[in-house]
Amino acid sequence: MTFSALLIKELRLRLRRERTMWIIIVYILLMGFLGWFYLSRFSTINGYGPFGLANTGISLYTLLSQVQLFLILFITPAFTATAINGEKERQTFDLLLCSRLTSFSLIAGKLVAGLTNAFMLVAAALPLFSLVFFFGGISPQQVIWALLVYISTTVMVGSCGLLLSTLLNRPAVSTAVTYMIGLAWLILPIILYVILLTTGNNAGSNQPPTLFIWNPIIALLSTYTVGSAFYFSFGSIHLSPWISYIVLCLTASVIFILLSMKLVRPGASTLAQRNRLLRPDKPSVMA
């Protein structure tokens, strides 16, 4: 009940903002422009035979899906990284704490509202992705796997942003830190991999190093091939990168959400527990 009230309010506020509409328009235009540019320039390279068209479809899908991943990574923080400290800045946070909103309802309501905005972008781009099926080369199963990678990435980045908005008081700082963490998460494994290659380690292996087990690019790349060509091994268990990626993302998201719930209501209940043994049970009679 309290959760739905918060969610409805958040959606009303977000969807009424002009900024939301512009983000969707720019997002679709950007994706559409990239698709149009690719098709107008490179569609003839592969020829018009069945394999040629399929290759065009695969290339178009690869381009659009990678761009979509980057856009998700860098748009989602804008929806959640100011969720809690934004309320503090607007001076409405105390009023939420005075209500019957539980920590779970507060965090879940904010997260779901933020993620709804991000998912709206993914959903809005789906018709563009359906263009790929005209060319062939990509199965619906692969699109669904990629969709799962998008969803887990959005949930993870969103919950990380939410945790930072709980920890840091200034919305601009929490947004910037979320972007920096996102960038480091994306780029650091690649840099480390390059270092490993140049120092001669990992040479000769045709499997991705464990360093990439939690990398969205590798996870997305692994959805392009049915019956994955590469995998991560844990004893006798062989996991496709996108599956291990989703498991890690969801685990990290749960940790971020639990931490946010713990941090969002500081003081009252904890102090209440501590004080329970220290103070008398009845008020004293005052003179």
């Binding site: 739905s4 009303r12 001076q91 009023l95 019957r100 009252a268 209440a272 004080n275 329970r276």
Partner: protein, 312 residues
């Protein structure tokens, strides 16, 4: 009844409240007066269970704030010294949101919101965006928001700051209506006249300490050594002054302007009546005889306290 017992609040090296004791009877409009930084907002936030005291305890009846803050928050309607509104929502959506997060059943919400908007005289603005409302209207909307879960106690932090005189009068009337509904109202302000007009009781706070508390009349009398009488006569002012000087409990008699006499008075209502009878018996043409309004007196009391003298 709310009982504040030996409450202290420390922010690192700053003592916002120090050994603060106060009893707030049910159904009163209790004013917390003090200069900026006196500790009023800290006290109100402690009463709203948003802050825990460093030491001491606050009791709401038999419930204590340190043990059941959530239960106390259900009894309290808190209005901070800022609006805290969502400008993109309409007035009824704003109240609907707060009704929702206070777990008011959805079926009851439309009637409740209608009643609250009627109470604060904003029914005609139900569909207006909050950002289009005037400052006074926003303040009334915030008051409606604080009432959404029908709290027993209302905590209003500087409710009249920035309001024009008309909005201030409307707020005062609204608070009286709420008091009539049995609510205990605690208001903080640094504007004395505002509180003197609205409150039944006051507490004067300075430097985190309680300097004086009680009914407005009581505090004024206790701290100023009595009341001040304001007497208007049509003539024979000199004779009236001599009579007053000779009366028991009257001192510092002076004529302020033509026919207006001010005199300090120590005594109960019966003694005041006796003084008036003495004037009438001597055929002094008295046209008004009344204690001076508490506001002006309170201001003098407040100024003397906050000059640094501590009260015994």
């Amino acid at each position: 009844m709310i009982k504040i017992e030996h409450v202290s609040k420390r922010y690192r090296t700053i003592h916002a409240l120090q050994d603060f004791n106060l009893e707030i009877p049910q159904g009163t409009i209790y004013g917390l007066i003090g200069p900026n930084g006196a500790g009023k907002t800290t006290l109100i936030r402690i009463l709203a269970a948003l802050l825990m005291p460093t030491t001491g305890e606050v009791w709401f009846g038999q419930e204590r704030i340190s043990r059941s803050p959530e239960a106390i928050q259900r009894k309290v309607g808190y209005m901070p010294d800022f609006f805290g509104v969502y400008p993109d929502l309409t007035a009824d959506e704003y109240l609907e949101f707060y009704a929702g997060i206070h777990a008011i059943p959805r079926k009851q919400q439309p009637q409740l919101i209608h009643d609250l908007l009627e109470l604060v005289d904003l029914a005609s603005k139900a569909n207006a965006p909050v950002e289009s409302l005037s400052r006074g209207m926003k303040q009334r909307l915030c008051l409606a928001r604080a009432l959404v879960h029908d709290p027993e106690v209302l905590l209003l932090d500087e409710p009249a700051s920035g309001l024009d005189p008309r909005a201030r009068v409307e707020l005062r009337e609204l608070l009286k209506t709420l008091q009539g509904m049995g609510k205990t109202i605690i208001i903080s302000s640094h504007i004395l006249l505002e509180l003197a007009e609205m409150c039944t009781d006051i507490a004067i706070i300075q430097g985190g300490r309680l300097m004086a508390a009680g009914s407005v009349e009581e505090v004024t009398r206790r701290l100023h050594g009595g009341r001040q009488l304001e007497i208007r006569v049509l003539g024979r002012a000199e004779e009236a002054i001599n009579l007053l000087k000779a009366s028991k409990g009257v001192s510092n008699v002076s004529e302020q302007e033509q026919g207006l006499i001010l005199a300090d008075f120590v005594g109960d209502d019966q003694a005041m009546h006796t003084t008036l009878v003495s004037l009438i018996t001597h055929e002094i043409p008295v046209i008004s005889f009344a204690p001076r309004s508490s506001g002006g007196r309170l201001e003098e009391v407040f100024m003397s306290i906050t000059e640094g003298s501590s009260l015994s």
